[in-house]
Amino acid sequence: MTAAPRNVAIDPARVDLRTRMGALHMPHPILAASGCFAYGQQFADFMDLRRLAGLSTKGISPKPRFGNPLPRICETASGMLNSIGLENVGAEVFLAEKLPFLHELGVGVWVNFFGEDFDSYVQCARLLEAGRGRGIDVLEMNISCPNIKKGGIEFGTVPEVAHRLTRACVEVTDLPIVVKLTPNVADVVAMADAVAQAGAAGVSLINTLTGMAIDVRTRRPRIATMYGGLSGPAIKPVALRMVHQVATALPQLPICGMGGILGGEDALEFVMAGASCIQVGTANFARPDAALVVLEELRALMAQLGIESIEQVRGCIRPLPAEAPRDDGTH
C-alpha cells in the first residue's frame, strides 16, 4: 500500500521558510495580493507590514484612473465578484506619495501595473523603473484586465501578443517583471511559455475568473459593469490546477501562486503544486492581518508534518499509484 510521508513533527523554529522568485530572495513565501492591500498604509493600523515577504500594490497605470460605477462588488458562494475599474493614483503620484512610506518601512514592494494600450504598458514600466533602488523590488505586469478597452483582452489571451508586450516592457526596465496571467484561457501553459520566452522573471497565477451575479428582484446585474472578477476559495481549485500545469511544463519558471488562500494549508497546497511564493488577496478584507495568519499557520503546519523547508516540498505532487488503498490518515 502507499505509505504516506512519515510526517514526524519537528520544532517550528527549525522550519526554513526561505524561498526565492528567480533572483529575488524572500524570508518566507507570503505576500499580500494586488487590489486587496491598496498601497499598504491602511494595514499599518492592524499589523507590522515588515513581517510580510512583500505586498503587491493596487494596479498602477501611467495616469490616474477613476473607478467604475457602483455596485462594484458582490458576494457569491465562497467567493466575491469585483469590478473596481482599476482605479489608481497613477505612476507619478505612486512614486511621490505612496512608495516612500513603503520604502522607509522596508517592506518588499511588488508594483502591479497595466496600461490602457500597448504603448501605455511600456510607458508605465518606464516610469516605474524610476522606483528601482527606491523601494520597488518587482514589477507585476497585469495582462488580464477585462475592464480596459483597445484589445485589452488579447494581451492576456493571445500568446504572441503577450510575448511582444512582455518583451517591450522588459527592455525598458532593469526591474524583474513578473507577469500576472488570467485564468480565462484554454491553455495557460502557452501563455506562461510566451512571456517566459520574452524575459519574464516569473508568473503570478491566477487573476480572477470572469463571472456574473444577478439580483432577481431588481432584474439587474449585481455588478454595474455586468461582469466582474471572481476571487476567493471558490476559485482555488482552478488556481492550483494552473499553478501545477505551469510548474510541470516549465519547471524553470518561478511561480507566485494565489487564488482563495485563507490559511496555512491553502498556502502549502500552492507550494506543493509548484509555487515559489504565494499572495493572499480577498482574505485581507475580513482580516487585515490575514497574510500573517497564513504565515503562522504555514509554519505550524510544516512543523507538524515534519517539513523542514519550502524547497523540500515545492512542486512535490506526483500522481497516485493507482488502486493502492490510501493511508490518508482517515479512520
Partner: protein, 266 residues
C-alpha cells in the same frame, strides 16, 4: 483608530417585528469612543461560504468593551447573526467611518430614521442627552407598520419629541415620514428657525430626504449604505458618487455620513 478584536454575544434581544439588538462583549478593550454614525464590521464563525464581514452601525458602546447593534434578518449574514446565541464568537473591526456632527448651539437637529437606519440617530440622541442638549433634537421615524418602530421609549426617556409615520397607519400618521418632514421644514422656514437634517434608513427614503433637504436648502446629512467588503478603505468596493473633481468617495472612510448636496444622485 480602528482595531480588530474578538467579541462574544452577551445577549440577543428580540424587539419584535424581526428586529434584534445584539449585545456583544469584547475580549479586549473594545471600541473605545464612538461617534454616532460610525460602524463596525461583524463576522461570525461562517467558514468559507460567506467571506466578508457585514457592516452595522453602533447602537451604543461602553468603556468596559460592551457594545450593541440593531439588526434584522435580510440575507445570509444577517440571518446568521440574528440566530446567534450568547457565547457565540464574532470578529469585530471598528469603530469605522465618520459619523454625525454634534448639534450647533441654536440649531435644531431633525433626525429622520427608517427601519434599521435607527442606530446612528439613536446614538446621536443618547449622546446629546448625556451632554444635556437633547432638547435640540427631534425624531421623525417611519416604517411599514408599528413593528418597524423600535426603541421609542428611549427617545421618550430622553425627552425627545418623536413624529411617527407608518405606511399602514398602525402607528403615527399614515404614509411616509418624509411628508411630515416636509411640513416641519416649511414651518421652520416660516419661523426662520435654524434646522439641519440627520438621516439614516432605506436608500429610497434617503433619496427623498435629500430632495426635501435640498429644496428647503437646509444642511442635510445622510448616513449611506453601500456594499462593503472590507470597511477600512482598501477594496474600493463601497464607492459613493459625489460632485467635485473626483467622481467617487468611499462610504467606509469618507462616510458613511455624507452631506446631501455632495452626493451625485439624480
Amino acid at each position: 483608530m480602528p482595531t480588530q478584536f474578538t467579541a462574544h454575544v452577551d445577549l440577543n434581544r428580540s424587539l419584535g417585528g424581526g428586529y434584534v439588538v445584539l449585545e456583544l462583549r469584547a475580549d479586549g478593550a473594545g471600541l473605545g469612543d464612538v461617534v454616532a454614525g460610525q460602524f463596525v464590521m461583524l463576522r461570525g464563525e461562517w467558514g468559507r461560504e460567506l467571506l466578508n464581514p457585514r457592516a452595522f452601525s453602533v447602537l451604543w458602546a461602553e468603556p468596559d468593551g460592551r457594545f450593541a447593534v440593531l439588526l434584522k434578518a435580510y440575507g445570509r449574514g444577517t440571518t446568521r447573526l440574528v440566530a446567534s446565541r450568547p457565547g457565540d464568537a464574532v470578529t469585530v473591526t471598528g469603530p469605522l467611518g465618520r459619523g454625525f456632527r454634534v448639534p450647533e448651539a441654536g440649531r435644531t437637529q431633525v433626525l429622520v430614521a427608517g427601519g434599521v437606519g435607527l442606530p446612528p440617530l439613536h446614538l446621536q440622541a443618547r449622546q446629546a442627552h448625556a451632554r444635556g442638549d437633547a432638547s435640540a433634537l427631534e425624531l421623525y421615524y417611519g416604517g411599514r407598520d408599528r413593528d418597524d418602530l423600535v426603541l421609542l421609549d428611549d427617545f421618550a426617556a430622553w425627552g425627545i419629541r418623536s413624529v411617527l409615520a407608518t405606511e399602514d397607519g398602525s402607528a403615527g400618521v399614515r404614509g411616509y415620514v418624509t411628508a411630515a418632514l416636509d411640513e416641519r421644514l416649511a414651518t421652520a422656514a416660516a419661523a426662520g428657525e435654524s434646522v439641519e437634517i440627520l438621516s439614516c434608513g432605506p436608500t429610497p427614503m434617503l433619496a427623498a430626504v435629500r430632495h426635501i433637504g435640498l429644496r428647503h436648502d437646509v444642511p442635510t446629512w445622510l448616513c449611506l449604505e453601500e456594499e462593503m467588503a472590507c470597511g477600512f478603505g482598501v477594496c474600493l468596493g463601497c464607492a459613493v458618487p459625489v460632485h467635485g473633481p473626483r467622481p467617487y468617495q468611499y462610504c467606509c472612510t469618507d462616510g458613511p455620513v455624507f452631506e446631501a448636496k455632495q452626493v451625485r444622485w439624480p
